[in-house]
Each structure stands twice: as C-alpha cells, then as structure tokens.
Symmetry: C2
Subunit: 305 residues, 2 copies
C-alpha cells in the first residue's frame, strides 16, 4: 500500500515525488514518458535559477533529484484507476498498469497534454528545427526572421502578437475566412504592421533540409519561412481522470483548487492537464509540490484515525 | 513609466522579474534584501532540479537569471505605494523608496515574512548552527539527535511530529500549561514515544560554542540539546499592502487568487506574504511567474485601449 501514487513523471510529477518522499510518504511515480513533455523542448530558459538548459537535461535533473530523495519511479503506463473502500472502510485507489496493480491512499494525476498536430509532411521531421508548438518558449530564437503561426483561434492571435516582438514578419495561416480572436487581440493585429493574415490557406507541407526553409500551401504556392508555430491547441490527457469521476472543465482540463485538490477527496492533480490559466513547467512543479503536502496531511489523518 | 514594478527580490520577486522582462515588459525590481529570506538558509534541498544548494547560492542563481533576462534590480527599500490616476484616466502606482519615486502600470508585492524571534541570548549567534525556524527545511540534519521545538500552538505540534521522524527525542517547550494543538495532532503526540512536552517552561538561553549544545531554562535547569526549532510564528510583511488598501486575511497575509491577483486591479502579490497554505520557495516562484503573466495581459490592454 502506497501513501501517494503519482501518475505522470514530468515537471509536475517529479517534484511531487521529491517532496512526497521528503515528507516521509511511501510514494510511487508511474511515468509513461519519464521526464514528460519538456523532453521535447530543445532549450528551456525560464526554469527559475537555471539560465539555460535543454529540455531533456532539465528532466534528468528533476528525475535525479526525485530519486536522490528516495522516490520510486516506474516506467509503466496507467490504464485504469479505481476508487474502492478497503476492509476498514477507508477510501483507497487501485491503479492498474499494463503489467501491475498498485494501491494508494492518495493519488495525483499529472498526465499532461499533447500538442495537437497539424499532420502534414515535414512537421514531425522538423520539430525543434523551426517547427514549434510554443511561441513563448521558442519565439526569441527567431529574432528578425520570417515566421508563421498556424491556427484560427485566439491562441494563434496571441502567439502571432508575441512573435511580432521578435520576428520581422509574422503570417497567420488560417484555414477559414475568419480569425476567431478576442476583439482586443484582433484590433492589435490590425494595427500591427508585422502581422499578415493568410485566410483560406492551408499548409500542405513544411520543407527544409536541416531546418525549416519554406512552406508549401494547398494551392501549390510556396513561401520562404524560418519557423512554423502551431497554435491548433492542446489536448489535456484526462481520460483516466474522467473515468474516475474527476470533474473537468469545458476544455477537458481537471478542475483543481489552490491546494491542487480535485472534486474527489484523495485525488490531486497538477500541471498541464489542469485548468490553470498560465501553464508553465514551474507552475506545474509548484502544483505538484502543493499536492504532495496536502496528500501528506490526508495520509497522516488516515493513519491516525 | 514602468510596466511592472516588483517589490521584493526573493524567490518570488526574482522569477517574476525574469518572466516580466521575457514577456517584454519594462520591469523594475526593488529589493531591500536582494535574494530574500532564503539567503538565511544554509542548505536548500527542495528546489526542484537542484539537489542541494546553499540559500545564498540559490538566491544568486535567481538573481543572475533575472539580470541575464534583462531585469533591472535596485537595492532600495520601498516606503510607500500610492494608487493614482494619470492624465489619461488610467490607474497607475507610485512607488516611493528612501531616495526615489517610480511609476508603474502594475505592481507585485512580494515582501515576504519575518520569522518571529524568541529573543534570547544565543538565538541569533547559533542560527543555522542548531537554531532553526523550519523543521521541514532542517529536520533531516538532526537524525538520531535530541531536539526541541519552542512554541505552544499547532505549528509547534506539527513541527515536533515531523521532527520525530528524524530525531531520537523531541521536546516541545511550552510557556503555558497547555499545547494548543489541533485534536488530531494532540492525539498523535500523545501516542508518540519520542515526543515529550515540557509545560510551563521557558528557554532563558541557548548555549554552545560552534553549534547548539544545551539550553538553559528560566528555572535554572540546563538540558543537553542538538537543535532548537522555533515555532512561534511568522510575521507577514504586509504594511505597505495594507496602507494601499490590499485585502488581508486574519493572519495579516495578502489574499490572492490563482492568478496572483489581489482585490485591487493591477496589484499582484506572491510568495510568503500571501495567504497560500503551503509556502515554499518553489510555490512563491510560481506565484510570481503567474503574476507576471497576468500583469503582462493588463499592461497590454492598457497599451492598446
């Protein structure tokens, strides 16, 4: 019986594992992708205290910190979580993976998100070589360059506005004939000389040898391009949570409070799969750490009463 | 005119400064104590990603990260903050220091706390040499040792329970004849063989050459001791906030929401001076970063409308 089972081994799960073990809880971390989504980022410059580090190296640091604290991390994919009552009438959670079943007094769901992919040739091959899913992360690398943002929503608008601070030219590639931006952002884009919207336009292929060089549109035209930023959304990986009965918001994100608690006592959540407005590695880490603390309180209560 | 003025240069202020400048805001950080309270901690082992670092070194890392991002940090003590309307009818904040006055479109208050001191001889001299204000931070250094916790509230009870996982013997030194612990914690203490409560007892002096060796009580008795943990409270440094009209809770802490917003639009707060339940360096950093993001949104709105 574990005190605390963490599902997800990214920037939220690993710090939670470190704190959980420091607090004396028997803590298990089940990490399908050890290190999480940050491992797909080539350069992280906004983890406070570390000026510049590769995504994989940051993941390794968090992993080593957790294991040095005594954390038990298993590379298993969770397939199901069940809430049951044990023989003492206490609520516990059964966490099933492909090969095992674990029992925990508390759990934390930190299963992150997936970037929605455009699904065109060149996208996968040139990821981190000009194809990016995060303007805030990578925008500064394209100072004075020509870039485009793919997407028709407010996210695309915001990404373009942010990129215009760095790039010389920013195209927004919109499939339909309308950019569904918030009025404030729409007006800003209109006033911004660097930004140009390409309506009714779809990318057919992203081309380049070592890095993005140009894009080819469905009408056959080609355009030189240094970077392609995808702003077509994220998918919160919350199927496990939903099946367990955890409350989600309209975007499918787990609703948490400032204690990282969900609607189910004993079930915590942290990081990108949650309804936090500004999702960063550091905010996810703090949510994970906070979850550990309140899990510790709950476990301690269970232990004594 | 600054976009974002950060008052406080600790673990919340410095990451906020780093993010603020990265987001393109003209950001000023006013730090009375550059590095903040963490500089008084000899060893930090719970900043995710860094297994072990001295408090001052962590502060330097955060400082260097902020300045490398372009942050402007001044070592000035803020004496007053005023909310005024400028000639365009926009709310701005005048931040006065001993020697200057600055104007900001948004501000963040991250003025931290002070540990309440016992005020006995030896306390200051042996701080970090056995005298500690944080069991969670320093408890593990006293494995198998004899320690005491000074305090009569639930904090003292919780600190003692936590310390009993490491130390061989934990005394709780209580001035009155009652320990005001939550029932759950009181019961746990009763069942815990390692913990002993010394009622109607007050420390007169903490003794030791290089480190804590013993304590002397007011009744003249002496007791060998390896560490003295003070659990007599923190004082949130929120006078500036209060004078500005920022809403505080019953403990005098600034009330913030998940966006690090206070009750006054444009005034954000982060870190130990806030009403967050579990205050850690990493949670303060996340609150600071979050404040930067929402300040950026507000400034951007001001700029365009």
């Amino acid at each position: 019986m574990y005190d605390f089972i963490i599902i997800g081994g990214g920037c939220s799960g690993l710090p939670a594992a470190m704190y959980g073990t420091r607090l004396g809880m028997k803590t298990l971390t089940l990490a399908e992708l050890p290190g999480g989504l940050i491992t797909t980022t080539h350069l992280v410059e906004n983890w406070p205290g570390i000026k510049s580090i590769s995504g994989p190296d940051l993941a390794i640091s968090l992993m080593e910190h957790a294991t040095a604290s005594g954390a038990e991390i298993k590379s298993e994919r969770v397939t199901n979580i069940e809430k049951v009552e044990n023989s003492d009438g206490q609520t516990i959670f059964k966490v099933k993976t492909g090969s095992n079943e674990y029992e925990g007094k508390t759990i934390m769901i930190a299963t992150g998100t997936k970037h929605r992919k455009l699904g065109v040739p060149g996208e996968k091959e040139l990821e981190n070589k000009g194809v990016s899913y995060c303007a805030l992360c990578d925008g500064a690398f394209f100072s004075e360059k020509t870039v485009c943002v793919v997407g028709g929503g407010d996210s695309a608008a915001k990404e373009a506005l942010f990129l215009s601070k760095h790039a010389n030219k920013v195209y927004i590639v919109v499939r339909k004939d309308i950019l569904r931006a918030e009025p404030a952002n729409a007006e800003r884009i209109e006033k911004n000389d660097k930004i140009e919207i390409l309506y009714k336009t779809e990318i057919e292929e992203i081309l380049g040898a070592e890095k993005v060089e140009k894009v080819k549109f469905k009408d056959g035209k080609e355009m030189p391009m240094d970077a392609v930023f995808m702003a077509i959304g994220h998918i919160a990986q919350t199927d496990l949570a939903k099946e367990l009965g955890v409350e989600l918001n309209e975007k499918g994100e787990i609703k948490i409070n400032r204690r990282s608690e969900t609607n189910i006592p004993g079930v915590f959540a942290a990081g990108d799969c949650c309804d936090t407005g500004f999702k960063q590695a550091i905010t996810g880490a703090a949510e994970g750490v906070t979850a550990s603390y309140y899990a510790y309180h709950r476990v301690d209560l269970n232990a004594y009463f």
